[in-house]
Symmetry: C2
Subunit: 280 residues, 2 copies
C-alpha cells in the first residue's frame, strides 16, 4: 500500500498513473506481466485521429492522460460525440471488424495501446479478465442510455447543467475535493465549445448564450471559456431537472465510485421557474 515499504522495484505498469483504476490493474501477476509485454505507450496531439470511423482498428487500449472523444459522423458531416474518454477509460472495439465509432484526441493525450488480436487472445485465455471487461461494457451501456435520455428528453439548458454536474461529480470523485483551496469550486471543462456542442447535440452559439445567461443569474462565474466557478450548486441541480444525476456515472467511469453522493446542499430560497424554457 505504502510506497516506502515496497521493496521490489516497480514495473513500468505499476508506475502507471491509471494502473489502479484500469482493467489491467486488477489482473493477477502473470496476466500483468503479459500486459506489460504486449502494451506500449503512444502519444497524440489534440485533434489527431486515433482510430478512423470506418477503418478497422488494429489496437485497443486505455487512456493514460488527456481526453479522447468517441464520435460518429453522418454523410453530410454532422457529428455526434458518443463518449468522452478520460484517464483509465478503455477505447477501441474488440471482436468486431468495425463499430463505426471514431476516436480522436480532444486534448493532447497519452494512451496505453495493445494489439487488438493480442488482447482478444488474452481475453480468451483469461475468463476473469473477460468478466471484468463485461462489467466495464455494461457500465458503458448504462452511460450511453443515460445520454440517450439527455438527448431525447432534455432541453439544451438542462443538458448543459447536467453536463456540468457530471464534470463536478467526476472532479470530486477523482479526489480534488475543491478546485481551489479557499472552498470555492472551480470547474475545468476539458473540451472546447465545439466538442461540447457535438456532445450535447446542440450548437456552439446556443451553448454560449445559455452559459452566459447562467452567469447573469449567478449560477456560474465565467473565469475563462473553459473554466467556471460554480456559485450555486443547488440551482444547477434544479436546472438539470433530474435528481439521480449526482448518483449515476454518466461519463463511463469505473463502477468503484458509483455510490458517491454529493452533500445535500440546501435548496435556493427563490427557485428558478422552469429551466426548460430559457426565459425563466
Amino acid at each position: 500500500m505504502n510506497a516506502f515499504v515496497q521493496m521490489k522495484p516497480l514495473t513500468t505498469c505499476e508506475r502507471c498513473s491509471v494502473h489502479q483504476r484500469a482493467l489491467c490493474g486488477a489482473a493477477d501477476p502473470q496476466l500483468q506481466a503479459e500486459f506489460e509485454r504486449l502494451s506500449h505507450i503512444r502519444t497524440f496531439r489534440a485533434g489527431e485521429t486515433v482510430v478512423g470511423e470506418t477503418e478497422e482498428a488494429g489496437f485497443v487500449g486505455n487512456v493514460v492522460s488527456g481526453v479522447l472523444r468517441a464520435q460518429k459522423t453522418m454523410a453530410d458531416g454532422r457529428q455526434q460525440i458518443v463518449g468522452l474518454l478520460m484517464p483509465s477509460d478503455m477505447f477501441g472495439r474488440v471482436f468486431a471488424r468495425t463499430s463505426q465509432v471514431g476516436i480522436e484526441a480532444a486534448t493532447d493525450a497519452t494512451l496505453c495501446c495493445i494489439d487488438r488480436h493480442a488482447y482478444e487472445a488474452l481475453l480468451a485465455r483469461h475468463p476473469e479478465l473477460e468478466h471484468r471487461m463485461l462489467l466495464a461494457v455494461l457500465d458503458e451501456l448504462d452511460a450511453a442510455r443515460d445520454w440517450m435520455l439527455l438527448l431525447g428528453c432534455q432541453s439544451v439548458p438542462e443538458r448543459i447543467a447536467s453536463f456540468l454536474l457530471i464534470l463536478c461529480r467526476r472532479m470530486r470523485n477523482r479526489g480534488c475535493r475543491h478546485g481551489s483551496a479557499d472552498g470555492r469550486f472551480i470547474l475545468g471543462v476539458p473540451i472546447s465549445r465545439r466538442d461540447m456542442a457535438a456532445y450535447l447535440g446542440t450548437t456552439v452559439e446556443t451553448i454560449s448564450r445559455i452559459v452566459h445567461e447562467m452567469a447573469r443569474r449567478r449560477i456560474l462565474r465565467i473565469i475563462h471559456p473553459q473554466t467556471f466557478e460554480v456559485l450555486d450548486h443547488a440551482r444547477l441541480v434544479d436546472m438539470a431537472g433530474r435528481e439521480e444525476l449526482d448518483l449515476s456515472e454518466t461519463l463511463a467511469g469505473p463502477p468503484a465510485d458509483r455510490l458517491y453522493r454529493l452533500p445535500g446542499a440546501s435548496r435556493a430560497a427563490q427557485p428558478e421557474t422552469g429551466w426548460r424554457k430559457l426565459a425563466g
Copy 2:
C-alpha cells in the same frame, strides 16, 4: 435440421421459437440442460411492467414473442425509450443492483425468465457463455451509440425515416422477404405512436404530421396507423440521410445477420430536396 429425421423427442427449449437466435441456443448440451431447468415462461399483457425502473430486478431473460420497451423516466414524467426488445433479445441487467432502466411490455409478450443470480452463477461457471454475453452487450452498445447519433444529429423526419428503414431491414432479415405475396412491401410497426414518439425523442403530433406528409409524397401508403406500404424505398433512404443505415443493426439484434445488405435500389429520378426541413 429437418424435424422429420429428428428421432429423439425435442426438449421444451428446443421447441422454443427463438432458441436458434438466443444466447441459450448456442450453449453445449449440458449448459442447455441447465437453462431448461432454471428458466421458465412468463406472459405479460401490453402495458404491464416487467421490471420497474428503480427496483432491483430478480430475474433476466429473453423475449420469446411480443415487444418490450426499455425506458427511462425523468422526475417530471418525461420518458425516453432506450431500446425496443424483440423476440430473441435479452432483457434485464446482470451484475448490478439497478441500471435505472425499466422494462415494460409494449405488446402482449411471452418471456423466458431466469433468476438473475442463477444466471450470473451460470456465467461464472461457463466462460464461453459469458463470452457470447459480452459480444451481445457490445452489439447493444453499438446500437445505443447509433441511436445517440439519431437523437443528437437528425431532424424528426430523418429519425422517422431511419426508424422505418430499420423496421424494414429487420423484417427482411427475419425471413419475410415481402410483407405481402404480390411484391408489395407491407410494413407493420409493432408499437403505438406514443412509443414511437418516446423512442424517437419527439411527440405523437409531429410524427402524425410527418407520416402523413410522407403519404402525400407517395413514399408511404397508410393502410392503418400502424401498418404502412413502402412505396418508394429509395426516397425513404434519401430521407433518412445516412447511407449506413441498411447495414447497421440498430435495434440491438443478434450479430449473425449483421452483414445483410438491402438490394441497391435505383435512386428516384426526382430527389426530394433536403428532408431536414419538412417543406421539401
